[in-house]
Amino acid sequence: MIASHRHRAIMRTTQGLLCLLCLMTAGCTSSYIVLLPNADGTAGKVLVKGLNGINVLNSPMEAVRVAALPSNTYVATPDQVQRDFGAALRASPKRPTHFQLYFQPGGSVLTPESELLLQRVVQEIDSREAPDISIIGHTDTLGDASANETLGLERAMQVKSLLFSAKLTLANTVVESHGEKNPLVKAADNTNEPRNRRVEITVR
């Protein structure tokens, strides 16, 4: 007990001295973390484990030092976040965009609505400086699983061939099939389910 108290006191003194040293050198801030609000204003959750304790952050802009000794959480200001993290925030890539294209039963013919969506996908690809794209084919549970694996790939390849963009290359495009194994809507075997006959495109 006493030993641990003494240990803590020594650590606190060392940390204090180090802080003083930091203040004398230019613009030195301790390690810390800030939980940012999600797009809808809520926040996720972060556990911060140091050598001697754990802190939980779960409200927007809640912050805490990341250090061996536990400390209280506080609310960070937008100004502080901008000052310390402005460059990292500005470097944040555009968020990925998702598209779902649907098919007529049994083959790789797009529904008319989905065919119209192709142009929007191309625009999204072309709007990005260095895009990478994944095109993943899915089927419903009609027919057997291995045939659906092949059908899913046919659908994905078909979609790829319909995307006319110079920015789409072999190096930045992944084409895959999940067959009937990754349904959007859970369904029994041999179910005709239009929402599962799809190709999912992610443009990053």
Binding site: S31, I33, K45, K49, A91, A130, S134
Partner: protein, 156 residues
């Protein structure tokens, strides 16, 4: 696991005589791409340093670094979005993204600088699967957006 260790040992043995090219595929699958850069930014792996350019592929274990003017943004295959500010060092130490096999893990090591992190699919499907290691702590990320500053001079 054993195989990848064997490859690593083999690579370490072969490194000095430059015979590693043929082994490059072993545990270095692409896990994401560089999307944005400003200033001087680099990808460092096995002592090899290349300038980071938008579009460059990122592999597990490569260190992302920036100089005092640099910043860099990457998007990983599960749509996790990471960006670092000036004077930063970050490595994606572990990355597993196979939802079908329930293999979902992301471990980032941040040794200095600033990070902006936005969760992707791994955090959504496996909330306990994402963590960030710093010299003074371990951060468990449960699906969220955060910023982190790591001062390398903090005591450990």
């Amino acid at each position: 696991m054993l195989a990848s260790r064997a490859v690593r040992i083999l690579r370490a043995l072969l490194l000095p005589i430059g015979l590693t090219a043929g082994l490059a595929w072993a545990d270095e699958a692409i896990i994401g791409h560089v999307k944005t850069t400003t200033g001087q930014t680099y990808l460092v792996a096995a002592g090899k340093t290349v300038a980071a350019q938008p579009g460059a592929a990122l592999q597990k274990g490569q260190m992302l670094t920036t100089d005092h003017t640099g910043s860099l943004g990457v998007t990983l295959l599960d749509n996790t979005v990471l960006s670092i500010g000036p004077d930063s060092e970050l490595v994606v130490v572990e990355y597993a993204y196979s939802p079908g096999r329930n293999e979902l893990k992301l471990l980032i090591r941040m040794t200095k600088g600033t990070l902006h992190y936005i969760s992707g699919v791994i955090a959504k499907l496996q909330p306990e699967g994402v963590s960030i290691k710093t010299p003074t702590g371990l951060i468990g990320v449960r699906g969220t957006e955060l910023v982190l500053r790591v001062n390398p001079w903090d005591i450990q």
